[in-house]
Symmetry: C2
Subunit: 346 residues, 2 copies
Amino acid sequence: MSSPSTERRRPRLADIAAAVDLHYSTVSRALNADPSLSIRPETRARILRAAERQGYRPNAMARALKRSRTGSLAMVVPLLRNPIWSDIQRGALKRAEARGYVVMILEEPEDALRHPADYQYLVEESRADGLLLATARRGAGAGSRVLSVPHVHFNRRGPRPGNDVIMDEEKAMRLFIDLVGGLGHRRLAIVDGFKVVDTTYRRASAARAISAEAGISVLFQHEEHTEAGGYLSTQRLLARPRVPTAIGVGNLNQLFGAMKALREAGASVPGDVSLVSFDEDECLAYLDVPVTSVSMPLEQLGAAAVDALIERVEQGGGEDVLVGDPLTLVHRSSTAPPRSTPALHR
Amino acid sequence: MSSPSTERRRPRLADIAAAVDLHYSTVSRALNADPSLSIRPETRARILRAAERQGYRPNAMARALKRSRTGSLAMVVPLLRNPIWSDIQRGALKRAEARGYVVMILEEPEDALRHPADYQYLVEESRADGLLLATARRGAGAGSRVLSVPHVHFNRRGPRPGNDVIMDEEKAMRLFIDLVGGLGHRRLAIVDGFKVVDTTYRRASAARAISAEAGISVLFQHEEHTEAGGYLSTQRLLARPRVPTAIGVGNLNQLFGAMKALREAGASVPGDVSLVSFDEDECLAYLDVPVTSVSMPLEQLGAAAVDALIERVEQGGGEDVLVGDPLTLVHRSSTAPPRSTPALHR
DNA sequence: CTGTTAGCGCATTCAC
DNA sequence: GTGAATGCGCTAACAG
């Protein structure tokens, strides 16, 4: 209806070749700066100018078909409310863009888990060059179909070593235990998600080892990683004969539940119990009593995962990666020495 | 080193054609269930079986090249901490998957805004069939380059009508004003982000219109959409000679700031001031005083945006979409009648 | 009912 | 220095 004539096809190599009166293969080589092409600079400039003028854009599909490389990565993340996934995703997107890749995102519902191999089709159909996976449950798919396309598991380890990019959960746990241990706490508790999730599993193992060596007791409560889960776990802890004096909470959602349970029980923070979050978030600074947290390198993890995957795609190699920096304590007001503790009398 | 021979190429149409002793074009038509092909069921079954056995997967690049359609959409979202974007993204991903599309995500830093047309290259290079954009600032790029590829603006309107998928902010505002107005409040305030963001702008306009017609006064505070912004805005409100008795807060980050300001000023909620959040989140139920919120149809918005874009890609048509369902009030404990109000004496 | 043919747009090996 | 030719894997129009 309105100007039906203006519609113009996107220029191809042939179009710009016609404009400069050269063969399109020459144009291709000039635009790609093919070193084996000894072209005179002046001709080259002419080509570039023509391409520019016509607004030439290489067709990614055609190029991908020819090169058998799509320039895109597929990222599978669990469908969770926890904001850490946004941060990891952010790190991955930035790094991928910087390295000339695009990223497709898929979200896997927690109640409809699939096997990692179920995402292989993306590579097999040449939609992506490789897979970034955060879908593994511990033991899931162990011994079963092994992925035969480039991939890395991030944040959660895969069924076998060699393609994992994970955070240094042990370091995080050590930070927590050193902090409250140093304040004099000897009865700690950790409120976290279920141990079928690898991250939680590693955290729990680390806590066990570290606390044992420090002569500190640690109680574990594993529940859903939601407000309700944190609430329930903390209620249970507070109902014990000897209530822990310091609690570490595995994620932000659970933290809100934990705080509610503490409030309802009349337990003051940090007076009665010290509280530490394993998710850092700006909002922690604005709570009634600002909550100390362990800040994990989330964006760095995403970036490292992309780097590792690209290495596998382009070189075929690669090793496990442990991301441990910057992993720091954000000191706020939710920790203090336990009431009448040796530390106070020193 | 280990079994270098096992490496087998991915099967192509030709491979399965060879296996069933038919031409590969026939195989193609059979697999695609081409209606113009009258093939005998038995042959068809043979083909399917062979394809299955060889693990055949159509090459998406080759298909895209031929069909000039990639089957992927590009989504550009602002780089923000606010969790609404995750929810919108989720809705979009789900719908896209259901409709056979994949989605690439790009995040645009708020401090390095680009023109929507800067993302056109994705379509021009045949990396995506269309663009989902949430990048517009009011007035940005108005009158400048107009997008010449299929696209929709979501949550934030584009420079001109016709390709917008937005939420019914007016309805949201009406819910808020009706609620607190009905409780007897006559001095309201709205704490929100800056009005260069279209969502905020529409919310403010709606509030102005609705409150005028209801004979209610509304004060606006526009600050950064962060905890610090909400804190600052609320402090300002509390410093006024006549403090508003009900405050609506535009997003979750600001809400934490607002609550801190109220706490520090010794203003009780809902005793001294009623509080309503325009972002719904499970954590609101776990706060010291659980906060009432307006729950927006975020996933629905994402899904609607995908539908609208696919319509433009596949049919070339499309109109503006207003997403208004389900848009509801989540009643919690942060609202009450103002102290000694007419409503109490009725 | 099935085979032939011609590209989609590009990179690349080989001639000249 | 540059042109010609081939094929990546697939779809679709056309033969037979």
